[in-house]
Symmetry: C2
Subunit: 335 residues, 2 copies
């Protein structure tokens, strides 16, 4: 209880300790989450994802610096690296990052590598974000590397998702974009001083049309045209059409404009019902995952270890299929 109270009073050491407890999924971590939960729901969660080489970390640094200088916000950065299940690429990222941001007591940086299953990672991210939220950080920047399902899952956590691209990463990258495109609220073309930036922008806008076919937006001689008329439902609940922004993060260029777009997205979320909808979806998925995990653990606890081993050995001998065995073991369980 004392540690949670210290965290609510913005004590950094308490924050560090609770984050570790939570990451380790310890008993004390779970009870801290329980105590802190009533104090959550205020922070703006911004997800930043994209392939390696797009300059994501530099961009995240610049966003943090902007919010510190322009808004005096308290900023947490959570760098999640699902691509390092074993050893820590994330740690290296921290060192690079530290040069700009260290020493500011209103910035807190934490990195996390995937240790167990991916489900576990998304679960830990949810919990870590709750802790930051309770500790009264105004903005939580959640950075993920790559463009796979892991990023999609983690992006679902965020209120605003930035997908970062860079010119000249090769045509093959296009294939990977289709999925990630549909989670982007804002598309950032970083390293916009590189050659090929026009091509990248054209390609991204083309993909946006494919990803959001309900309301086609065309560029026509540089002019933005909405071709299909919005439906009645859309008029009542306006939709967010992802915007494409250029930045050169290493020089701080385009950051102000990007942050204004993020702000507009936040207003859109709050004024429509979207903020509440996303929160509900997210809390429900947290609840479901926890329920799933606990049901499994409890079932195994109740089952004799012998019964589990016997079933497994039948499966190994192919006397029973995993599908059939599950039916049997569940129908035979003591109720």
């Amino acid at each position: 209880m004392k540690l949670s109270q210290a965290l609510l009073n913005q004590n950094r050491l308490a924050l560090s300790r609770i984050l570790t407890q939570v990451e380790n999924n310890s008993e004390s971590g779970r009870s801290a989450l329980n105590e802190l939960f009533p104090h959550t729901g205020k922070a703006h969660l911004i997800g930043i994802t994209g392939a390696p080489g797009t300059g994501k970390s530099t961009l995240v640094n610049q966003l943090a610096l902007y919010y510190r200088k322009e808004k005096d916000y308290r900023i947490a950065i959570l760098a999640v690296d699902p691509s390092s299940p074993f050893t820590g690429g994330a740690v290296l990222g921290d060192r690079v990052r530290m040069r700009d941001l260290s020493g500011d007591p209103n910035i807190f940086i934490r990195s996390m590598a995937s240790r167990g299953s991916l489900g576990g990672l998304a679960q830990s991210t949810v919990a870590m974000v709750q802790v930051f939220d309770a500790a009264k950080f105004d903005v939580i920047l959640i950075e993920t590397v790559g463009a796979g399902q892991a990023e999609v899952d983690i992006a679902k956590l965020a209120h605003t998702t930035l997908v970062v691209e860079a010119p000249g990463l090769g045509d093959d990258i296009q294939a990977i974009k289709a999925g990630i495109m549909e989670i982007a609220d804002i598309l950032v073309i970083n390293k916009a001083d590189r050659p090929g930036v026009e091509n990248t922008e054209r390609a991204l806008k083309g993909m946006l049309e494919l990803a959001h076919p309900t309301r086609r937006v065309f560029q026509h001689h540089g002019q933005r045209m909405v071709v299909e008329a919005p439906s009645k439902a859309e008029e009542q609940n306006p939709i967010w059409i992802p915007e494409v922004k250029r930045t050169i993060a290493k020089d701080g260029e385009g950051i102000n404009e990007l942050c204004e777009t993020i702000e507009r997205h936040l207003t859109f979320l709050r004024e429509g019902g979207e903020w509440v909808t996303r929160e509900r979806t997210q809390l429900q998925s947290t609840f479901d995952s926890l329920l799933r995990e606990n049901l499994f653990t409890r079932f195994l606890d109740e089952l004799s270890p012998d019964a589990y081993e016997k079933t497994l050995s039948k499966i190994m001998k192919r006397e029973e299929s995993p599908w059939g065995a599950v039916e049997k073991i569940l129908n035979g369980r003591k109720v």
Copy 2:
């Protein structure tokens, strides 16, 4: 029953149908898996993973052609694309592939995009592989795009995992390699006619040393030297030191040598206990996942929808945390 029998008799239409049933996780799919399971456990599962742009698909085509020509094996290719949760990049891959391989009745190609959760994807992949295995394919090539946790999970399925790299994909790619490195049985440098191939090879070998520190292998003037003496345990159970192979898949160069290495790895697996160990791990994880999913579904079925909704709404109001709510709902359930 008839459909399963047709599949066991290597009927392609039956195979297609059952794959679809299984991918949709339908009742008929589960019962087919049940019937087919006793006929599984024979195929050699080869996983091929790597970043976009490394020429994975071309390499997979060449492997398939090699096994057809040199060994007269029946080959299944399962292309899994975890990066396209929404729309099908995988389909495009198929078209490219078809030119070389279509028309051969002993090659079967199927692609799969991630539809739901990632857990679901790994689960479907397991099931699809079981179907191919029962249909008496000698080798099943499982191709995944990217280098995230999804690939790691899917690679765990395979007996032999190839990680494909290409020279000149940029230094940033290095960061992503640390994790994927530890799942590689064979590292393939494809597009080996590109400049920078020596650097890539040096980097990969350096990373291998980091990933397998129990037995350091150094290149010394081109000579392979094991510096640390193997331990007693290692002498009894020799370990596999991942090998680095160069290929130019588009010209078919290096494919024979690569396939010989794959063959050596297979022998290693079969002669040590590794084949059985991997099979056990994989079957146990399938069993656990199914158990988890079924426990959850059954619990929700037994629970009144009202109780679930009430809990969720308390969580939304932050009167109860997801962690606390799970405790309550599980302790209060009717036994």
